[in-house]
Symmetry: C2
Subunit: 161 residues, 2 copies
Amino acid sequence: MWTKKQKKMKERRTELHVAALCNGTAIDHIPTNVVFKVVSLLELEKLDNPITIGNNLESKKMASKGIIKISGKFFEEDVINKIALIAPNVVLNIINDYEVVEKKKVVLPQTIEGIVKCNNPKCITNNEPMLTRFNVIDKDNIELRCHYCDVKIRKDDIILK
Amino acid sequence: MWTKKQKKMKERRTELHVAALCNGTAIDHIPTNVVFKVVSLLELEKLDNPITIGNNLESKKMASKGIIKISGKFFEEDVINKIALIAPNVVLNIINDYEVVEKKKVVLPQTIEGIVKCNNPKCITNNEPMLTRFNVIDKDNIELRCHYCDVKIRKDDIILK
């Protein structure tokens, strides 16, 4: 049995939704706590394309989810693979004429440049104006090693720049 | 006459929209370049409420616009008035049972604490761990004066922290 509060929450979750996309990219099933990180990773603030973002929406697969739809925009592989860093299970739907023509899984790249901060305050990347660089040493559990100072960073300790 | 490209742009603008809200706050006619600043000013990343954000959408009043709808959320006056700093013409629609029950204009407060960075690098607020504080000296053109170092900041030079 659902409590009254749960029912109300469910109603609130269902009432908002994001409209269908004619052509573009729909990123679905984004964990709610990383939706705005995905926005900044993909630099969606800078786009002129129509965009809708939903968060804390009802999901069949998850307790609640985020979704991002960008009209008329198709991303390069290396850009979308950055998402794997914070949301490894996300699927990108490529939409053409209201139909999904391709489903892309995000894949963590072998090296990650410029988007993760090194957690070692003495690392040269924290003291010089330069890009950070990490090698992915564990793709499944997401573990990185700094190319410069060798410090290891686990998934939960990743800080985006 | 519309060119083919303009027509295509218009089609792209219309195809995405943000669904109706049952109860909550709808912030409409947000200039497209400040939508994500409004998100961070209102700390929407931290909310559990269902939320939809649209940007670069077609507008009758503006070339294109942003819109933010938050289900089940009603903001305090002092919170929404922060928006006046970056989007002085925004109107908040308070929605109850799918109907607008109140329209709130944002009003620039007399003093602004903690959200604007002082542009003077020597200002104490840039050198000590403390909140910034500004007096609004011109409400119409949005001009601020730092309470600590007296530096004046005009609208276009405002940097949010």
